[in-house]
Symmetry: C2
């Protein structure tokens, strides 16, 4: 077992596919998230297809194979374990841990991954609220809906933040939109305009493309 070691680029493609929902992801969306041109993403997807990691149905999208899904889960595991370490032990700012862990993930041997997990007490959730796959790649897929879909008047609890850009994460951090936060939608502007939110007693504006990456649950009546 244990593949001959994947390149950083390969791992990032697989991880991005997993983060984007791992079925029928358009190459354009993938390219955008990875910051490459669609042509480049297309080439790379062809290579990944040849290695049996993804299946590409032209005009439909890219889907991880079982092999690809496992590899992607392993990257997510490393990423999120490092996030826990950076946040809990090194006390690094929440908004920065994604990017910093994203470098470390590719340099982490299986032995280090497992020792790190043990050191951290086998956490199952990262500081951004996302589940950490276990050593076999299994994890409970995140429940909840995107904040983007919420209507005015609804009050929700933030479960996870799926954004990856440090800039976006900084904005969310400043506004207090972190896992566990209670958020009320005051207004959803028309024409795909921004949401106006109430977070921790303060108002915050949030564009839909950012709201998309905030995963929430309807707040069940659990006392105030």
């Amino acid at each position: 077992m244990s593949l001959p070691h994947m390149s950083e680029s390969t791992e990032m493609y697989l991880k991005a596919l997993a983060e984007l929902g791992d079925r029928d992801v358009s190459i354009a969306r993938l390219a955008e998230r990875l910051g490459v041109t669609p042509v480049s993403a297309n080439e790379m997807i062809r290579r990944l297809g040849e290695q049996g990691l993804v299946a590409h149905m032209p005009y439909k999208g890219v889907t991880l194979t079982e092999k690809g899904r496992e590899a992607a889960a392993n990257v997510l595991r490393r990423q999120r374990l490092w996030e826990v370490f950076l946040y809990e032990h090194l006390k690094i700012e929440w908004a920065k841990i994604y990017e910093l862990a994203c470098s470390l993930e590719h340099a982490t041997a299986p032995e280090v991954t497992e020792a790190l997990a043990a050191f951290l007490g086998n956490p199952t959730v990262c500081p951004r609220g996302n589940p950490i796959p276990d050593a076999n790649g299994a994890f409970a897929p995140l429940e909840g809906r995107s904040l983007r879909e919420m209507a005015a008047g609804e009050t929700v609890t933030v479960r996870a933040v799926n954004a990856t850009s440090t800039e976006v994460l900084k904005y969310l951090q400043e506004k207090g939109i972190l896992p566990g936060a209670r958020v009320t939608v005051i207004e959803a502007a028309p024409l795909d305009g921004p949401l106006t939110l109430l977070v921790n007693g303060r108002e915050a504006a949030l564009g839909l493309s950012m709201a998309e990456f905030v995963i929430v649950e309807k707040t069940v009546n659990e006392g105030r």
Copy 2:
């Protein structure tokens, strides 16, 4: 300040030069340590020269510039801090930490380096006995001589192990040739033959190319 980010390859060349003594290192030796051909090392050294990181005097050797020395010290800092973490906190086998830390070192942002150092309590020595440069690149160059130069009858204390191959480190670990160990040279075979040592009451044979990487100090009479 802070360079535009060096490639892993660049960092490894600089680190190897620092480990090999950082003045007048022959390209052949460098190539050997890095596992590339002399021609490849030559090309790379030309590139590093263009970037002002090394100076190459043909037929004399390669020497780090001040800029190169600083960059190399920073790589060593990251490498050795990770070694401490892997050994002390993740409880990874001594012989494996060099190689595992050697991957992590290139993926470690300055912010992580400094937070890690603080987390570890700003250690000044790694588990292999080598000094850890401070944030400015300063460190006490290792005192002591190579075990290779010792004559029969001498008793020495191991200060550091400069080997990098996991295989070699495993051998040394098995024989107990670790920092702090008391070693007596029983015999130095002629014709560059192996040393016979007494370590922890047991005999061990050690070829000169391995002994070269074991840095020792004459044991000062400090009790029996």
